[in-house]
Amino acid sequence: MSNTSEFDGNGIELEVRSKEAAARGVAVLTLARPDSGRLPDWTPGAHIDLALPTGQVRQYSLCGDRWDPCAYRVGVLREPGGRGGSAHIHDELAVGERVTAGGPRNNFPLVPSPRYLFIAGGIGITPLLPMVHQAHILDADWHLLYGGRSRASMAFLDELAPHGDRVSVVPQDERGLPDLAAALGWAGPDAKVYCCGPEPLLAAVEEACAERPPGVLRTERFVARDQGAPVRGEPFQVELARSGRTLTVVPGQSVLRAVGEAGANVLSSCRQGTCGTCETGVLSGTPDHRDSVLDDDERAAGDRMLICVSRAVSDRLVLDL
């Protein structure tokens, strides 16, 4: 039986179980809970937030096997310039070390279709890899057009090889740019088109699909989102507005637990940021969102949070409790 213990602390704490070079400049990490227990569920296209010891938070698409409930896999490209989170992962992060993750969220879900065209550029292969696997299971008609600078820089070619000519591998130094017109011609009007990769590729695909109905083309952009202040390793204050009480939340303790211990029980259910039951109003302060429920707009609004996993960026939060 899998472990049923609930998370309580800094989102999900994950341990690096393996770290391998999957291609030039691409490190693949396998992450698991320290107790090897079950992780929150995810669907193809989902990403997690990784909070690195450098204080940065980066989003990485999950590219592993969801039928293994106890491991996440991510592929990390060394970002040009050599600074920041990706450099830390490549150069410093070692097997056995721990990182903090925010729960899986999916802005790029795979929707039902008899036919799919997947277009990946470089590290953009990562969210598409589980989609390819799923399209295969569903017995859909599908094709993957996968471009990259050179064969040596393109990750997961070995895993894609068994799919034969359903996958077109287009290293730029051998074959130039991928032939989007031909691929979209194959796709016909009924296919859903999924694209992830660098901005010029996305722009080209968007232009090529401009005449198609809305909802046909689905894209994911890797934007280095500014998360504001770095993740806190220190305690923070939570004020309960209705009772006027103030309490301190220490690292390793969830806001939910701290609030409960102060006598203000808040209903919760999954305790892993997926069901939405413990949503709580935020009257002031800036939450550090680690859940799988709130969308980007709601996060930006900052007026509610899921206190089972989410924490504070600011020194103080005032909650509507």
Binding site: S2, T4, P109, G276, T277
Partner: protein, 398 residues
């Protein structure tokens, strides 16, 4: 090790009228017997402790739903209706319909309903409290969901009386083909035809949950073939369950006056009270899964393809998880109960149910000083649901 030698067995029929009337004794016996008990009457494997029910609910990789979440095994038997896209499906087929309905019924989608539902609850409570004595099941537990939910879905007024019988039959049909199922069968054709007609786009009001499901199909998030089945899920699982949940919280308060006083002093406990009642009574008592492979639980191996019966009601009263589990107690934290399930199949309408309950309980707390039973309450027997047919009460107004 010879696992079959240690597997406890029990020949009780968990769907017999006497067990449905009061399952506590069976639950206690199963929990004590071991993590897994073979129920010989139906050749199913029972889980009754919180730890194992909770784990099985989350483990969709090994505990299959697509072979049916009732006793019937779709590997060998034809389902009596087209299977649900949610309840009777596994990932990856489950993903897209679930994502759509989760969005339609999300807390953010419900925010605009909150004010209206609180006002409707006040209005209903005012009407009902014209009398000092009434039956709380039809007057409140049924009346309130039937007033607000079909409007929110966008159903026409006519024919709504079909909703309760349809849900009742679907939940009976998860059990064996017993007298309860037979009782629902004669009128089923007509009721089903009405339900299916309500799932069509033309029938649904353009502002409701149903129309939003159809819009999702227009965006391509689900197919147009899936849309009516997803609307059907709302109509199947959205009414009877809430009715029995509300009846549970009303019964709990009518029999626990001190808890009613606590609520009246602090009406913000309404939300917590509903979940505590859901834990305490477990309106959805059971669901089945099917072993997708050989599944090992607590030293016992369940063979591939066998049905697994999860006793949610027993898990919610397991003394290994809850202190004084049989007490209805607003001062406990009921979080983590499995009354709404857990994991990818967790009740997608849980936020709707909680909002309905919060509205009704809050309105009652404002107007009612004392709530007490005036006669013997009568159970409504169902193979899956635990509910009341009748709760005769007397109220003292504030």
């Amino acid at each position: 090790m010879d696992t079959t030698a240690v597997l406890p067995t029990d020949d009780t029929d968990p769907f017999s009228p006497s067990v449905l009337e009061d399952p506590a004794e069976l639950h206690a016996r199963l929990r004590e017997a071991g993590p897994v008990v073979h129920l010989t009457r139906h050749d199913v494997y029972a889980l009754s402790r919180h730890e194992h029910v909770h784990a099985a609910l989350r483990d969709w990789q090994r505990f299959q739903s697509a072979a049916g979440v009732g006793l019937s095994n779709f590997r060998y038997e034809e389902p009596w209706r087209p299977p649900s896209l949610l309840l009777e499906a596994d990932p990856p087929h489950h993903d897209a319909p679930r994502a759509v309905l989760s969005g339609v019924l999300s807390p953010r989608a419900l925010r605009s309903l909150r004010g209206r539902w609180f006002a409707e609850a006040e209005e209903l409570v005012d009407q009902v409290l014209a009398d000092d004595e009434f039956d709380a099941v039809p007057s409140l537990a049924q009346a309130f969901p039937l007033r607000v939910f079909p409007d929110a879905v966008g159903l026409p007024r006519q024919g709504r009386e079909n909703l309760l019988p349809y849900g009742d039959h679907v939940f009976n049909a998860f059990g064996p083909d017993n007298a309860l199922v037979a009782r629902g069968r004669p009128g089923l054709g007509e009721v089903s035809a009405w339900i299916n007609a309500q799932c069509r786009r033309e029938t649904l009001d353009s502002a409701g949950f149903g129309a939003r499901i159809w819009s999702a199909a227009d965006r391509g998030d689900i197919t147009h073939e899936q849309a009516p089945l997803l609307v059907r899920s709302l109509l199947t699982a959205g009414v009877d369950t809430t009715v029995h949940g509300l009846a549970a919280v009303l019964y709990a308060f009518a029999t626990h006056p001190r808890q009613w006083d606590l609520l009246r002093r602090d009406p913000s406990l309404a939300r917590m009270a509903f979940d505590e009642a859901v834990r305490w009574e477990s309106p959805v008592q059971t669901f089945f899964r099917t072993a997708l492979t050989e599944v090992e639980i607590g030293g016992t191996v369940i063979p591939d393809g066998k049905k697994i019966l999860m006793f949610l009601g027993s898990a919610n009263r397991d003394p290994r998880r809850w202190s004084a589990p049989d007490a209805f107690d607003l001062e406990r934290d009921p979080s983590g109960h499995v009354g709404f399930g857990m994991g990818v199949h967790q009740c997608v309408g849980q936020h709707v149910a909680r909002l309905e309950a919060e509205a009704l309980v809050t309105a009652l707390a404002r107007r009612v000083e004392r709530l007490e039973l005036t006669g013997r309450p009568r159970r409504h027997l169902n193979n899956t649901l635990r509910g009341w047919e009748s709760l005769p009460v007397r109220v003292t107004r504030t």
